[in-house]
Subunit: 127 residues, 2 copies
């Protein structure tokens, strides 16, 4: 991954972390460098025992969430009782959230069109 791509992802994640924190969630970011072979989403946010596991994407166009990442989120749903989402930062549109369930149904393929159908806004999920 190029440095500018990395920075774009990093700054996006950071922005989302602060948005969540401002809403009263405690948050954890898991930088790739800190992982040790265990299932780990990019961001975990918790409020009053409600756990959210979030995989972040900053892409201009459509993308596919790798099967391995979908499975890791699934493990968080099954073991922790987490609600899992793919968070997509769409240029000039802001964050959209696709539930893990919807992402799996579509084999991990996320496009603008699919996102218009099933994507949710930050405010729809995090109150």
């Amino acid at each position: 991954m190029s440095y500018s791509k990395y920075m774009k992802g990093y700054l996006g994640e950071r922005e989302l972390l602060y948005k969540l924190y401002d809403k009263g969630y405690v948050v954890l970011r898991s930088p790739r460098s800190g992982r040790i072979g265990l299932p780990t989403p990019d961001i975990v946010a918790i409020k009053k025992s409600k756990v959210y596991a979030i995989e972040c994407k900053s892409r201009n166009i459509a993308f596919v969430v790798p099967k391995e990442q979908l499975n890791q989120l699934k493990e968080w749903v099954e073991k922790a009782g987490a609600r899992a989402y793919i968070a997509w930062k769409i240029p000039r549109k802001g964050w959209k959230f696709i539930s893990l369930e919807d992402a799996i149904k579509n084999n991990g393929r996320i496009s603008n069109r699919f996102c218009n159908l099933v994507g949710k806004n930050f405010e729809d999920i995090f109150s």
Copy 2:
């Protein structure tokens, strides 16, 4: 911090993460390098919406948990409903867990004697 001290702490945390994972928890480690000014424990472990926030220490003798770390754990208790512990890896004895409540009562001072009074074993907490 010296490199060998850092490695000792790192390997200790890693061991605890795997112990928790083996017990069915999903776990997150938060390396210092990944923190962005938000309250963050060393380890977060979750099973069925039960959240544990853990600050790890690898010291040979008594130590004081900084007030700031106690306050960060408190924030996790209040916002996330987490159970918070200081995890102390005592040489040749293994892990002992001191509840945040007990640690605060003792102004963050943790000694062998205090740990004998209030410390719990891994198995007492993580079933």
